[in-house]
């Protein structure tokens, strides 16, 4: 571990100013991801500004009918919040399918969104990795890549985003509230995350020193009938091979509206817009679900060892939509 300074932030403004002014500084939430990276040498900040105690620990109603989730709300607290459970069950399900109870008890909302890929080469400082050391190459392209991306990857990076929560938030169309030295801005989560292109070192569009303070969920009534399914190698405490967050509004056997996002398949949580388009107005049948899934996955470009993710994603989309629509139509 490289020596670093530690500061407990006094308020948002000073925390943002401090990190912005120092290129080697980083924000520290619960540290469940960053501290691992410090140990492994993946991250080497010279200053940690601890924001975990800043007053963003509330879940509050928004004027337009939505809900604001503070950046430091713990994953466990968010998952059991009655409003979240009732109005956005996919958020609760996504959180509870991730990490372990101990980790969820400390991990924060913003920290969850900012966690970095679990690609083994990203974590092994002895290997080339464009995300860790831009320009050094991508070891996963020809190496171990069973867990890697099938959508939106580039030859510079085939890593996937590890968050479950972010997949649910992407399906919902959540908006991230950000504080920077130039003031506050709102970023739709779909725009927060990047595809790797030729700069995979950037997971998000955030500038150095910008701090997430909250995540706003839209009203979205159909989200009361939503869920999150995660397929993984072990029944708990494992990252997604494929996951699906979905909400659906069905009337008389026809899909009126639908939201679908995929996890474990791309550098960012993958909003399945093609599938959504194919489903709107379609009958709520397995065939339609399968066709929609295939429309989305037509653009999949699997690697040597992860072609299985294409049918797995298709089957998971179908199974998730089937469950939701069956529940809706008694």
């Amino acid at each position: 571990m490289i020596p670093f300074d530690y500061q407990r932030a006094e308020d948002t403004r000073s925390a943002v100013a401090t990190v912005t002014a120092r290129p080697g500084a980083a924000f520290l939430g619960a540290g469940t991801n960053l501290v691992d990276h410090l140990k492994l040498g993946v991250a080497a900040p010279d200053l940690l500004v601890d924001v975990s105690h800043l007053p963003f620990d509330m879940i509050e109603p928004l004027a337009g009918g939505g809900v604001r989730i503070g950046a430091t709300v713990r994953n466990s607290d968010l998952a059991v919040d009655p409003v979240i459970r009732q109005r956005y069950p996919m958020v609760s399900a996504a959180l509870l399918s991730g990490a372990s109870g101990q980790l969820r008890n400390v991990a924060t909302t913003a920290g969850n969104l900012m966690q970095r890929t679990r690609c083994p080469y990203f974590q092994d400082v002895t290997t080339p990795c464009n995300k860790r050391r831009p320009g050094s190459g991508c070891s996963a392209l020809e190496g171990y890549h069973r867990d890697h991306a099938i959508l939106g990857a580039s030859r510079h990076c085939v890593a996937v985003h590890p968050s479950d929560l972010a997949v649910a938030l992407t399906a919902l169309g959540a908006v991230v509230q950000v504080e920077g030295v130039k003031g506050a801005r709102s970023i739709p989560i779909i725009d927060l995350y990047r595809l790797p292109d030729d700069a995979p070192q950037h997971d998000t569009v955030l500038e150095h020193g910008e701090l997430i303070t909250a995540v706003d969920l839209p009203a979205l009534p159909m989200a009361t009938r939503s869920t999150y399914r995660k397929v993984r190698d072990r029944a708990s405490y494992a990252f997604a091979l494929v996951s699906v967050a979905a909400a659906v509004d069905v009337e008389r056997g026809t899909v009126r509206d639908v939201r679908v996002a995929l996890g474990g398949v791309a550098h960012k949580p993958w909003r399945a817009r093609r599938a959504e388009e194919a489903l709107r107005g379609a009958p709520a049948t397995d065939d339609a679900f399968r066709a929609a899934a295939e429309a989305e996955l037509a653009g999949a470009r699997p690697l040597r060892d992860n072609a299985f993710k294409v049918p797995m994603a298709r089957n998971t989309i179908v199974a998730t939509l089937r469950e939701l629509t069956r529940r809706e139509e008694p």
Binding site: M1, L40, A93, L96, S97, R118, P120, Y121, D124, T126, T127, G143, Y144, R146, T227, Y228, R229, K230, V231, R232, D233, R234, A235, S236, Y237, A238, L241, R304, D305, N306, A307, F308, V310, P311, M312, N315, T316, V318, A319, R322, E323
Partner: protein, 775 residues
């Protein structure tokens, strides 16, 4: 003279005596080796090769030594004895010299006043590597022209080849099934990473406190590398957090001693979890090709098999694993015609060696898969087919050895088959469904499957190895009460061996107060806590030493009392059953101490050409039935129930027996569906418990266990080794159940979601077999 009723002490053989470490471990108060501490101690750290194969041009430790707080930085040039160690033969450098042969091979060690200082010092050591192509495919490593990794090995990269020929190797059969199977690299995944504390002694020697499996084999290797006589290297067992074979080879032992002797300060070394993956050997990945021939009634006519075990960079216990895979590789079946060839091969992959099941695991997955395939071909019930061919007492092994104690293979199979099947899963409780609490399945596309497996394992060391244990038993009177102390070097790895020793002493002497002294090298060797052997061999030694103490006591009493007496339930009793005296009366201030070296029946080497010979001293058997629910759309498996039947000869401690069966079955489940060290081009890609998956409580189902106690007349109390058999048969039973649910061939473990249900998943290319040299 009193004729009062005698009380039998509690906690004897056959009781579920309470373990002294149980409550401490549950409360988190047990002192493991990683908790060791000494005043003024330094912290050691290890610089490891990032490359699986490289030439070392130079190593420069100068910059490390200039860091304040660093007391020593040592390389191979600082090893005072021979820079070699190894269990079977000494082919492994303590610190690399001119070549590194696997990723993680130790190159240098440092000692500093803080662990972080030690790690920073490692960053300052300059090693100039010339990277070489790694040899990573075991079959290619055997081929002509492959780079030779150990020039001194007469067989090239073939470390050992065991061949077994029985009957007519060219025998033909009416029905033939062939199959090719693969087993991935499994980790022992013990809880307590490698750790220990070396303390320099005034006599120029060193005292090492360490978590290990066999104190004396460590002692001899450490002394050899240090250039010290064994008596100057004294080992004491520290708290062991599991072993499963991973502590048979040295890890930090020599390194800590080198640093302690150099700095004249106590030196502690503790690996982290990631380092631990590089700090011990793993289970051999295997390629297994089988051909089973049977008549149309399902009676086995012949088995032909070839097994290639990837031994990795150094020998470790590969030669013995090869012999086990070969001699046990036909399974618990009667087969008149056998041709078996098994090779252990050097590569630049992580070294592989001992892990629970020791060669029998890999073979069992293959031969049981073959039995299912044969049953399907014959249209027979898979259990019926197994029973029809089951070995029994008096059967002959492919090695020609006659199985001369209970071999209830058919009975074990019937027992697991006849258990009631579990009810269908509750679709409202995700914990009962594939995918667990991730809400993955609602019961759509979930198919139930049932599968069976039965396995065979040898107990204790084989092939003529002088396998013994030493026990020193002392009887004295303290505070008016007789007290027994038992001293052995046998290692408690968590299996309950301390309690077993107490139970045996209580049984033999009828005395309640039994103290088991810390295991150390102050008493003779106990052999390894492996091969399911300690209750048998150290148990036998403690029993024999107690008998000697008892005989001495009775002789003493006869002299004092003027008549013949025996020791019954802790009292000296005349022939008519009357109590003549108490032990305290007879013994007074005298102490009786007896030390016994005890051996099981000898074993013999295998004939190098035919593999014939009485290589093993005892066989053990277990059978499993697995019930699984598979979400065939998503490829997820939920093991619903594991039923196991095992013959243990005599359950010395029934609760501990169940613990072994539960734990062993769980380890087999892990191999069946999730555990694999991912090695790509010789480098480990998942060295953490986040990425190397072991079963959790959500994955491991309830078990139904039948324990048979069919005494082996050759063994103390009739017992049969317990620890390994349940690991062996649970894996094939689970995979068979998944096959039954899915219809997929599933020829490789671990089985993963991609292997089960999903069209379009990439299959692993299998290279064609090159010509292999024979050693």
């Amino acid at each position: 003279m009193s004729t009062a009723t005698r009380e039998t002490v509690a906690g004897r053989v056959g009781d579920s005596a309470v373990r002294p470490d149980a409550a401490l471990k549950v409360r988190g108060e047990f002192a493991y080796s990683s908790d060791l501490f000494a005043d003024d101690m330094l912290w050691g750290a290890t610089l490891r090769s990032p490359h699986p194969h490289a030439r070392i041009r130079s190593i420069d430790v100068t910059a490390a030594l200039t860091l304040p707080g660093v007391y020593a930085a040592l390389t191979h040039a600082d090893v005072p004895g021979e820079n070699r160690y190894g269990l079977d033969h000494r082919d492994q450098p303590v610190l690399a010299e001119d070549v590194v042969r696997y990723q993680g091979e130790p190159v240098a060690v440092v000692a500093a006043d803080h662990p972080e200082t030690a790690r920073r010092a490692l960053d300052r050591i300059a090693v100039d590597y010339q990277v070489l192509d790694p040899v990573v495919d075991a079959e290619l490593a055997m081929a002509e022209g492959a780079p030779v990794l150990h020039p001194e090995c007469p067989g090239g990269n073939v470390l050992r080849h065991v061949r077994i020929r029985r009957g007519d190797p060219e025998a033909t059969a009416e029905v033939v099934v062939t199959g090719e199977y693969r087993v991935g690299m499994q980790d022992q995944a013990f809880l307590g990473p490698e750790s220990g504390l070396a303390v320099p002694a005034e006599d120029g020697g060193v005292d090492l406190h360490v978590a290990t499996q066999w104190l004396h084999v460590d002692q001899s290797q450490v002394a050899h590398a240090l250039g010290l006589p064994p008596e100057k290297v004294r080992l004491t067992l520290a708290g062991v957090g599991g072993a499963f074979g991973a502590r048979e080879d040295l890890s930090m032992q020599v390194h800590a001693c080198l640093l302690a002797l150099r700095t004249r300060r106590p030196v502690k070394m503790v690996y982290g979890r990631e380092e631990s993956f590089f700090g011990h050997v793993h289970r051999h990945p295997a390629l297994l090709r089988y051909e089973h021939g049977a008549d149309r009634h399902g009676r086995l006519v012949s088995v032909r098999a070839e097994i290639v075990l990837d031994g990795g960079a150094y020998a470790s216990s590969t030669p013995a694993v090869v012999a086990n895979a070969a001699t046990l590789g036909i399974g618990p079946y009667q087969v008149p015609n056998v041709r078996m060839d098994c090779w252990g091969v050097y590569t630049n992959n992580p070294p592989c060696g001992a892990m629970r099941g020791f060669g029998a695991v890999q073979a069992c997955f293959a031969y049981e898969s073959q039995m299912d395939k044969l049953a399907e071909r014959l249209g027979m019930d898979p259990v019926e087919l197994r029973i029809r061919n089951a070995m029994r007492e008096g059967s002959t092994m492919p090695t020609g050895q006659v199985v001369d104690s209970a071999a209830p293979v058919a009975e074990l199979l019937r027992r697991v088959r006849d258990k009631p099947l579990p009810p269908p899963a509750d679709p409202t409780d995700p914990r009962d469904l594939p995918g667990g609490v991730a809400n993955t399945t609602r019961g759509d596309g979930v198919v139930r499957g049932v599968g069976y497996g039965v396995g065979i394992k040898n107990v204790a060391f084989s092939e003529g190895f002088d396998d013994y244990s030493t026990a020193r038993v002392r009887l004295e009177v303290l505070g008016g009460e007789p007290v027994v102390s038992v001293h052995t070097a046998a290692v408690e790895v968590g299996q309950g061996l301390v309690t077993v020793q107490q139970q045996i002493a209580r049984t033999e002497l009828g005395i309640a107060r039994v103290t088991v002294l810390p295991a150390d090298t102050g008493v003779g060797s106990a052999g390894s806590s492996s091969a399911s052997r300690q209750s048998y061999v150290t148990g036998g030694a403690v029993k024999a030493a107690c008998e000697r103490v008892r005989d001495t006591l009775c002789a003493l009493a006869a002299t004092r009392l003027g008549r013949e007496v025996g020791l019954v339930d802790g009292k000296l009793v005349t022939a008519d059953g009357a109590v003549a005296a108490s032990i305290a009366d007879v013994l007074g201030d005298e102490v009786i101490e007896r030390t016994v070296e005890w051996r099981h029946r000898p074993t013999f080497p295998l004939d190098p050409l035919t593999g014939q010979g009485n290589a093993h001293t005892q066989y053990a058997f277990a059978a499993h039935r697995a019930v699984v629910d598979v979400d065939v759309e998503l490829g997820l498996v939920k093991v619903v129930e594991l039923a196991c039947a095992q013959d243990v000869g005599r359950a010395i401690n029934p609760q501990a027996v169940l613990g072994q069966i539960h734990g062993g079955s769980a380890q087999g489940l892990g191999l069946a569906v999730m555990e694999e060290i991912q090695v790509v081009d010789g480098t480990v890609r998942n060295p953490s418990f986040t990425d190397y998956l072991i079963p959790t409580i959500v994955d491991m189902p309830p078990m139904v266990v039948d324990v048979l106690e069919l005494a082996d007349p050759h063994a103390p109390y009739g017992l049969r080794g317990v620890g390994e058999p349940p690991t062996i048969s649970s894996t094939p039973a689970i995979v068979a159940a998944i096959r039954a649910a899915t219809g997929r061939a599933l020829t490789r473990v671990p089985v993963r979601p991609d292997d089960i249900a999903l069209a379009g998943s990439a299959s692993r290319p299998v290279p064609s077999r090159p010509e292999v040299p024979c050693d």
